[in-house]
């Protein structure tokens, strides 16, 4: 067991650090440092423009998506180098938030299922964020029960014709492409009648409508398909094999969301370090200390768990479903922390204006964003089901629709 860098790791770190010191957009550091829990903040600058600039710069110098093969725009780096890069990139990494879905989920799916020609065409531009991708999975009638989706794809010569609706599609409004899962056969049990494609979001018949979120931002969208034509060459995997393909995407989703996940611990620590309560200094208060210890133990536990996963990855082992714990722990914790943090500040805790209350804007953003963490990418309940069934081997949920052709499944409306 050894936590230090090996000689090669140290050398790699020094190289990364030097490049970042020379090239990073230092003018954004203040706003990025305060940013988080919702859209990235870049002060007077446009966040998407700044994000693409930084990504492009990294790509040109070989620092984008460094674990990818060189021919796809990466650096062929090891998992450990990628951890080191993330540590060194620090707050600038927040700029890439809008690219996580494309680079962390769509790309691995393309690598596993796209043709060589398509990989060569799309992956390098995905790495440099010249093209941004989104994930069109959830529908109004199927979120947790993803395999219950209804968007139809029907074959027409060399094309497929898509009709239906997706929802909660993060970043669809600034995406160039997306991967979309559709139903190609409603007469077989639900998991078997699905097929995956990728499509140009500017295709005729695609309509994107932003949804205003509970926290006031607009990160996700409704996406409508009205006779949208997709060439068969943009199919990923077999006809009827879409469920298998989606598992690749979702497994990577948990890795992408789970590693280095925000917990809110640094925010609560900073708050209580400087705060006075009616009874004295917050950090001396026994209730505060007890909660702080619990939250520190949880966030350290997550950090150490992902360090173990990285060690396993670098030995060539696959990360298992146990990585589901990251988001499960962090989401609830962040919500608890935000609530407690506001509670320590009297009525002033409700103030969002950073001019009036230094800490509140960030903690308020955390309060209002954290419910989403417990839903996106698999709800808390679904993650517990996964742990129970796939890690602990407990018997499967009773499924009312088991083995039934999709067209016969009751839908409640």
């Amino acid at each position: 067991m050894d936590f230090g860098d090996t000689q090669e790791e140290a050398q790699f770190r020094a190289e990364a650090r030097a490049w970042i010191a020379a090239e990073a957009p230092t003018y954004l550091i203040d706003s990025l440092t305060k940013s988080g829990f919702g859209g990235v903040k870049t002060g007077d600058f446009d966040p998407m423009v700044e994000a693409k600039l930084w990504q492009r710069k990294k790509a040109d110098a070989g620092w984008a998506c460094i674990q990818w093969p060189v021919e796809f725009g990466g650096r062929g780096a090891s998992p450990m180098q990628s951890v080191i890069w993330n540590q060194e990139e620090g707050v600038y990494g927040k700029l890439s938030g809008s690219f996580i879905i494309g680079q962390g989920m769509c790309a691995p799916t393309l690598m596993a299922y796209a043709s060589e020609a398509n990989k060569a065409r799309y992956l390098p531009k995905l790495a440099s964020a010249e093209e941004v991708w989104c994930q069109l999975f959830s529908e109004p009638q199927s979120g947790s029960d993803l395999a219950g989706l209804r968007t139809r794809a029907e074959r027409d010569g060399n094309d497929w014709v898509i009709n239906g609706q997706k929802i909660w599609t993060s970043g669809a409004h600034h995406s160039d492409f997306g991967i979309v899962i559709t139903r190609t056969d409603p007469e077989v049990p639900k998991h078997r009648g699905l097929t995956m494609f990728f499509l140009d979001m500017k295709s005729k018949g695609v309509v994107i409508k932003p949804i205003k979120q509970a926290n006031g931002e607009s990160g996700f969208n409704e996406v409508y398909f009205d006779d949208v034509r997709i060439p068969d060459s943009q199919r990923l995997g077999e006809v009827g094999g879409g469920w298998q393909v989606s598992l690749t995407t979702l497994m990577n989703e948990r890795l992408a969301i789970g590693g280095g996940i925000a917990t809110g611990f640094p925010e609560i620590k900073e708050l209580v370090d400087g705060l006075a309560l009616a009874s004295g200094r917050a950090i001396e208060n026994p209730a505060v200390r007890s909660k702080l210890a619990d939250w520190y133990a949880k966030s350290a536990g997550l950090k150490n768990t992902s360090a173990r996963a990285m060690t396993a990855l670098s030995k060539g082992e696959m990360p298992g479903p146990e990585n589901s714990i990251g988001k499960l722990v962090a989401g609830g914790m962040m919500q608890d922390i935000a609530k407690f943090a506001l509670d320590l500040q009297g009525l002033g805790g409700v103030i969002v204006d950073p001019e009036l209350a230094a800490h509140s804007a960030r903690l308020q953003a955390m309060l209002l964003r954290s419910p989403a963490v417990r839903i996106e990418g698999g709800t808390d309940q679904i993650l517990r089901n996964i742990i129970a069934e796939r890690v602990l081997g407990l018997p499967e949920e009773l499924r009312a629709d088991k083995g039934m052709p999709f067209s016969k499944i009751p839908s409640g409306n």
Binding site: D2, D273, A300, L383, L394
Partner: protein, 372 residues
């Protein structure tokens, strides 16, 4: 970075697990629990013959010198099998205190005996039914003798010697080595929530004793010993938590209600998923603490407190909810659920309870700059 145990450490762990699964069934644990013996002597003898009492003792003192990473995995297995032996008192506490603070003569005298398992030692601290503070320590050391009472000493009834926290005539606390065989000590068994581990009060009526090492700096020394032992206790808790979770999962797969296995009910599934999450967090924190212990990292106090807090949480949760998963059977003497429940609460209060370790955690956070 390489955040995993070595193959050698894992082989040792498996070897210990095999031995304990042969020799330390719940019947063995119950033998002690029901008062047939003060500890499981065959298990102890087996551990000794495998050299485990000397795992972290250097070879020049008769130990194996395998180090703390190995010892952590041994502790995990002892916890998993609820081993009713004085291993923690003798190895994590007495041996540690001697190695850290003993004079050369004391180390020469005691360490080889401890390594060989000929001698069992313990640490005697607690005097009142309250959280322990330096101010409350009343037991006195004067003119080479100890006078006063330690209310509850783990394995006090089994140990050959004790390292005793006591106050000297100058008012300073020191750690004193006292041969419990020499006479003048009244040992009285104490009933506790976990009778599968020996607990005894020790009354010293002018017993000969000597200062451990050269300085009467007992409280600081105690804290150092506790930080190190906390990691090893945390591994025992981790092992216990894993066993309790396994027991719950196995039962939930077999027991039927409403025409289906109870493990298919989401109320239970989610309960066990939460047990698993607590266990994983504890495991990862324990691994980090093992590293900090094995390298004497400046991070040790924080890492130890973190491991201790999450391992305590994990074992308490797993032991408690294992009973719930078992329904009425879980509340019988016959089923083993209560063995874990008892042990989890017993281990929580060794070295001070959860509240004290939470407090220590925050104090070490405040003094360092570790941001998780």
């Amino acid at each position: 970075m390489n955040f995993d145990f070595s193959q050698d450490d894992k082989m040792l762990r498996d070897q210990v697990a095999r031995f304990l699964s042969d020799q330390c069934s719940s019947k063995t644990v119950r033998g002690v629990l029901e008062g047939n013996a003060a500890y499981a002597t065959e298990v102890w003898d087996g551990l000794v013959s495998m050299g485990l009492t000397g795992t972290a003792i250097p070879e020049n003192y008769g130990g194996v010198g395998a180090g703390y990473l190995s010892l952590c995995l041994v502790a995990e297995q002892l916890g998993a099998f609820l081993a009713p032996t004085p291993f923690s008192s003798s190895v994590y506490l007495a041996t540690e205190a001697l190695m850290l603070f003993g004079s050369d003569a004391q180390k020469d005298h005691w360490l080889p005996k401890l390594a060989a398992g000929e001698t069992i030692g313990t640490l005697a601290v607690v005097e009142t039914v309250a959280q322990t503070t330096a101010e409350d320590m009343a037991l006195r050391f004067s003119a080479g003798q100890l006078t006063g009472k330690k209310l509850i000493v783990a394995d006090g009834g089994i140990s050959d010697f004790a390292i005793v926290l006591a106050r000297n005539p100058a008012g300073d606390l020191g750690l004193y080595l006292c041969d419990l065989q020499a006479g003048g000590v009244v040992k009285t068994a104490v009933d506790t929530v976990d009778p599968s581990r020996n607990s005894t009060s020790l009354e010293f009526n002018g017993c000969p004793a000597e200062l451990l090492g050269t300085e009467a700096d007992g409280w600081a020394q105690l804290e150092t010993v506790y930080d190190r032992a906390a990691v090893l206790f945390a591994f025992e808790q981790l092992g216990g938590a894993q066993s309790a979770l396994n027991m719950a999962v196995d039962y939930a797969k077999q027991r039927f209600a409403f025409g289906r296995p109870i493990g298919s009910f989401q109320g239970l599934k989610h309960m066990m998923a939460d047990m698993y999450v607590a266990l994983k967090l504890a495991e990862s924190n324990c691994y980090y603490a093992a590293w900090a212990l094995s390298t004497n990292s400046p991070d040790l106090p924080l890492a130890a407190a973190t491991a201790r807090v999450s391992a305590t949480q994990a074992f308490q949760l797993c032991a408690r909810d294992n009973i719930q998963v078992h329904g009425g059977m879980g509340f019988t003497w016959e089923f083993d659920c209560h063995l874990y429940y008892r042990r989890s609460n017993y281990l929580t209060l060794q070295l001070g309870g959860l509240t004290e370790w939470e407090d220590k955690l925050v104090s070490s956070l405040a003094s360092g700059d570790a941001a998780a």
